[in-house]
Symmetry: C2
Subunit: 327 residues, 2 copies
Amino acid sequence: MANIKSIAKLAGVSVTTVSRVLNNHPYVNEATRQKVQHIMEKEGYRPNSSAVHLIKGHTDRVGVIVPNSHPYFQAILSGVMDEAAKSGYGTLLYQSRYETQEEHKALQLLSTKQIDGLLFCSRALELEAIAAYAKYGPIVTCEYTENEQIAAVYTDHYEAFQKGMQYLIQHSHRAIGYCVGRADSASSQARYLAYKTLLHEHGEVLHPEWIFTNCTEIKDGIRVIDTLMKMEERPTALLVTGDEAAAGVILRAQALGLRIPEDLAIIGFDNLPISEALGLTTIDQHLQEIGREAFRTFYNSRNVEVKDIARSSKTVIPFELVERSSV
Amino acid sequence: MANIKSIAKLAGVSVTTVSRVLNNHPYVNEATRQKVQHIMEKEGYRPNSSAVHLIKGHTDRVGVIVPNSHPYFQAILSGVMDEAAKSGYGTLLYQSRYETQEEHKALQLLSTKQIDGLLFCSRALELEAIAAYAKYGPIVTCEYTENEQIAAVYTDHYEAFQKGMQYLIQHSHRAIGYCVGRADSASSQARYLAYKTLLHEHGEVLHPEWIFTNCTEIKDGIRVIDTLMKMEERPTALLVTGDEAAAGVILRAQALGLRIPEDLAIIGFDNLPISEALGLTTIDQHLQEIGREAFRTFYNSRNVEVKDIARSSKTVIPFELVERSSV
DNA sequence: GTGAAAGCGCTAACAT
DNA sequence: ATGTTAGCGCTTTCAC
């Protein structure tokens, strides 16, 4: 295949000149430029990125690691890509399926200089294992993290959950249950705390069986309703962290004859596309903005040394309750 | 940051020796290897991939382009990744959102040698535009394509649809409608042909209003039922190309009091995870196998010249009807 | 406005 | 078992 040398020879110029037209350098004679460009086209010449990255010392590309392709992560991702494009950066998507091995592979993209930085939308790996790679380039998570080598952009899940609870309480609900994703995540812990605290403040007892974990997809919402229907005492309202799961709850509940919100009130999370179609009241965490800000955080710490403060910046993105008709 | 030269100096050996321990070359003195490895670790040294790719002339990585993260594409992707891993290949995921500009970007990864080949799960770009890149490396599509520069691994959609129609007809259905994804895709055309032909063979008239397009997600299935309920004359069975959309159909139909399959029979496609949860009868196209075969096709034509036959191989993957309880 | 030459970090003959 | 050396394809001083 053609390379810069063969193009130079064919055009009767030096490789420097070819490089100049390649990079839209000024001070290249118009006729020369035309000629070189014509030959490039004719030869189907394209610069070898490995060579370019090697000599430039960077790739102008960030990695984004998502466990799966859930709309939640797609929303963050779209924010990242959008903001990255503005700065002339490309994004390299990496799916981990929450496997630590895959996350290690993504981190190795960073250490082997295939990407300039890495953004974690979620993680399975321990913070310390991730932090060990901070010396190779900026790492940003979209979840709260204490670690001082890793920057974070996140929602205050305690407050968001509190807000949801208060809204349900205002609407006369006392028997409230909830559904979360991974049981042991930091956000789930914050939510449990908010739940327990508010229940206690209102003198309600906590029903452990009204807490559902591993709820992320529509089928999980279906499962929740099926489980709920077998209970003698049922909640009148459900806080569901994730509109997809909430959609499953609504659809299944309706399929079984329950009216929303009269028989069961629902608050979802994330304001995903499906929530609008179903009239689902939801708490919008502004996921796209989280993605945007995560990229900006990377961008601003590109040339900053590891030890520097900027690398460990923590940014809270505000949330917002979107009222529709499910409460 | 450390590079091979600094490691060599620190270890008191040549860069060749460092390179040898890096690549697990035999004929390296055990003591030397230990020493070099120790220093690498201490220095946090990782080889620069751009340099490696540059000199090797390949990246051992294929690009996989998907329009979005629909479970359909995830299934193909998992087949690709699985098979790629077996051959020591990595995968580079690229989301196009069916935007030609994004597909061009992915193709440029190929022409600039960031990937060794490119697999299209679906496409927005015209075949000719894609074929123009075939000279840079093997391109494989997971849809039927005539082009002789592009290999293809696909389902015979005419036969699959025929099979579904026949199954419904065997179950006494005559009023049959269907839902497809993109209206103008090759597969949609094949399906329309199968539909028209079978209807004609059984002396049935074609109801254009029973043909729904742009049905890929759950919300689309919801829409279909909502539209259907407003019709005076309704089909008794629906063929839905995509289990997600079929799930929406089922859930919404049940929510509105219809019984499946008594009031409405459904056949889905793809045998996606959700179909099992809903007892959905579906036509399994073996998407994962399509992905696997797509990678193998790339792999086998790696070192083959463009002009060669292997590049344009066409492989049909057989489908299978999975009987559950929605018909 | 153009070119010669050095070098990015690595691998792989070839020599010893 | 180890080292010397010549590139891979490109960008970038520096000189003219």
